[in-house]
């Protein structure tokens, strides 16, 4: 079914994020992921797309596909950092981890029975894998920008599932969620700006003076 096709694409984007070495590329991939998530609800349901689904889709595509990438690129320009990702963990190991995470995600998904609303057996693995990928990006990369990116991916992972079962949650909550995520990323952008101003760099490994 078509939804599976989209989910597979999402999985691949995540893998690409783990593997790619260029910040710009990562941001673009994240944007693509956002768009994919935006259109996911259309196929997520048997019943014809309601108005609210449309609204949510539009919102999602605009935010995740346009606004966030723009914000991130702007932050990059502000910080005029080199385009390298500068990972703690290399790209090949990252990919290997990605495979491991994928396996874990599938294993966990077997623990959760399918229900009428989860229309694809790929939904849960894709969501979990997105989360794992996001967490891994945050953990394994040095740059503050990378961490915002990781947070976005994590958010997308959650959203994958949400979009899959969107029928069950109400519009108000959807909007609230989107709003919150937006503000979160916005504030993070501001913080990056400040960090850059304070330290003239956005390597978070220098952000470790507070400790015991």
């Amino acid at each position: 079914m078509f939804i599976d096709f989209i989910l597979v694409l999402v999985l691949l984007t995540n893998l690409k994020l783990l593997g790619s070495s260029r910040l710009g590329a990562c941001i673009r991939v994240a944007a693509i992921q956002g768009v994919l998530l935006g259109i996911l609800p259309w196929w997520a349901h048997g019943h014809p797309a309601a108005f609210r689904v449309l609204g949510v889709t539009v919102g999602t595509v605009i935010l995740k596909g346009v606004v966030f990438p723009w914000l991130l690129f702007r932050a990059l320009r502000e910080a005029e950092v080199s385009r390298e990702v500068e990972p703690f963990v290399g790209y090949v190991p990252s990919l290997l981890f990605g495979l491991g995470g994928l396996a874990t995600a599938f294993w966990l998904s077997t623990r959760l029975p399918l229900t009428s609303v989860v229309h694809s057996s790929l939904l849960v693995p894709a969501a979990l894998f997105g989360i794992f990928a996001g967490l891994f990006l945050i953990i394994s990369r040095k740059r503050a920008v990378n961490q915002v990116l990781g947070f976005l991916v994590l958010e997308n992972g959650v959203f994958t599932f949400g979009a899959g079962v969107i029928g069950e949650t109400s519009l108000l909550v959807e909007v609230g969620v989107l709003l919150d995520v937006f503000v979160a990323v916005f504030v993070m952008g501001i913080m990056i700006f400040h960090i850059n101003r304070e330290f003239d760099h956005i390597d978070t490994d220098r952000l470790s003076s507070l400790k015991d």
């Binding site: 069950e168 949650t169 504030v187 913080m191 507070l210």
Partner: protein
């Protein structure tokens, strides 16, 4: 009523951003705090009706935490009058390195305070899990600028960690919400709504695996916000770097809100007959928190971090209390009250010390009892209150929790609790006694009076804790009992 409770702070927040003389803005701060407190008091008299089709309603649990939040905000509002006069303004001499840093504009500070209050109020009144999630995330976003009030690199770092870690946690909690919503839909059932009453009503018909996974994610997510080890890592940084008044609110009110989120989830588990499942998790995380707190309190060199870790300890106690269930959940509720009051008082006094001594290092603060008698007495009283010494309320609540542990024959847990509490007491005694007693010594502060607006709140809070240790008013204990029953205790 509820709408008023929520809207007033948000409106005030917007008003605060309108350019106006500082004095008026501070007055507004106090006024809103007072009004909010009065409204909350009214809720004690008569429980307000639900609005938005039951999405927003006030039950015993909510009222308890709402009252705490409101009371602490009022105290903070009074305290801020003096604090802003002292440390507010355009620039501020950094305590550690001594260079001048500029503050965030006061408008931002006060405005965000209002939003913070509004968000927390929303948390306490929301019966719908989606709304609850939105509200809790909102508290994070509203409080981030507050932590970054004094704009130097350490507060910046703290804010960044706070923001990132909490956002990650909250994101996980969102997935938890989705899972629960799926759990609510049995095969071939009508679509579920995420209101508490609905879910509790469905109870045993919820799908166990989804519910389990959902609760787990919520626990980790909100637990991050609540400061349960090992997700507590943002807490000491944020508490130590933010202005003391903010630390007081974070520790006294915000952590409770996150705890409320977890309690809501446990309510469902109770209804679905997964009580032991949720309680095991809570106890495990609680014990870990106690242990971690003990590790970092012993030999701690920074008194605000010390207080922060003590918050981790008490959050652990709350989790253990809720996890033990039965009489212990009453103890947990009671302990939440005591801890909020005592810890807020301590942070307020920590603010005095920071102003007087210009340092957060325990070793450099000496002879407070002689240098600043009132602050010294309050500091000492707060110490005995937070370590659960009679005649302070914390003793009674900790006693209740421990009693339940023994009653249930969980000797290992009880023994571990006693051990960790003893270690923590040793650590804190070493720090506090060293600071308060003896001659002021070399690093003695230039004797200056602390404004009464900064003395009154901690004194009042400490008096409350003392009062709760001498007797528990009937209405309060009734409320605590109802709250405990709501989470499956008695």
């Amino acid at each position: 009523m509820i709408s008023a409770l929520i809207l007033i702070p948000f409106v005030a927040g917007l008003v605060a951003f309108i350019p106006q003389p500082a004095g008026r803005r501070r007055l507004l701060l106090f006024g809103v705090g007072a009004v909010h407190a009065v409204l909350t008091a009214c809720c004690w008299v008569q429980m307000p009706d639900a609005i938005l089709g039951g999405w927003l309603a006030l039950d015993a649990l909510g009222l308890l935490f709402l009252s705490l939040t409101s009371a602490l905000f009022l105290a903070a509002a009074i305290y801020s009058q003096g604090y802003l006069a002292e440390a507010g303004g355009q620039s501020y001499e950094d305590a550690e390195e001594g260079f001048l840093v500029d503050n965030a504009p006061e408008a931002v500070f006060i405005g965000c305070l209002f939003f913070f209050l509004g968000a927390m109020t929303l948390v306490t009144v929301s019966q719908h899990f989606g709304v609850l999630w939105v509200a809790i995330e909102a508290t994070t976003l509203a409080s981030a600028p507050l932590i970054y009030f004094h704009r130097h690199h350490r507060s910046l770092e703290a804010t960044w960690k706070y923001l990132l870690i909490c956002s990650v946690g909250i994101a996980l909690a969102l997935l938890g919400n989705f899972f629960i919503s799926v759990a609510a839909i049995g095969p071939g059932q009508e679509q579920g709504r995420l209101t508490l009453t609905e879910l509790v009503a469905r109870g045993s018909r919820l799908q166990t695996p989804w519910l389990k996974a959902g609760f787990l994610l919520l626990l980790v997510g909100y637990g991050t916000k609540m400061g349960l080890a090992p997700m507590h890592t943002w807490l000491p940084d944020a508490h130590s770097e933010s202005p003391s008044v903010i630390s007081a609110l974070l520790s006294g009110a915000l952590l409770n809100c996150a705890f409320l989120g977890i309690l809501r989830a446990t309510q469902i588990c109770q209804a679905a007959g997964l009580g032991t499942f949720s309680q095991d998790l809570l106890i495990v995380l609680g014990m870990v928190s106690l242990g971690v707190a003990a590790v970092f309190i012993l030999g701690q060199t920074d008194f605000k971090r010390l207080l922060a870790y003590s918050s981790v300890e008490h959050m652990g106690l709350l989790a253990i209390g809720a996890g033990l269930g039965g009489a212990a959940s009453f103890g947990a509720m009671f302990h939440a009250v005591n801890h909020s009051l005592a810890k807020a008082a301590l942070f307020f006094v920590a603010g005095h010390l920071l102003l007087l001594y210009r340092t957060k290092s325990i070793a450099d603060v000496k002879g407070v009892l002689r240098a600043a008698p009132v602050s010294g007495v309050l500091w000492l009283a707060g110490f005995f209150a937070i370590t659960g010494m009679p005649p302070f309320g914390t003793f009674l609540s900790e006693f209740t929790i421990l009693k339940a542990a023994f009653e249930q024959g969980r000797y290992a847990i009880a023994a571990a609790c006693l051990l960790f509490l003893a270690l923590i007491f040793i650590g804190m005694a070493t720090a506090f006694l060293g600071m308060t007693q003896g001659p002021p010594g070399a690093g003695a502060p230039t004797p200056r009076r602390v404004a009464w607006t900064m003395l009154l709140p901690p004194a009042a809070l400490a008096a409350f804790v003392l009062l709760l240790g001498l007797f528990v008013p009937g209405s309060l204990s009734q409320l605590l009992h109802d709250a405990a029953q709501a989470v499956g205790g008695l």
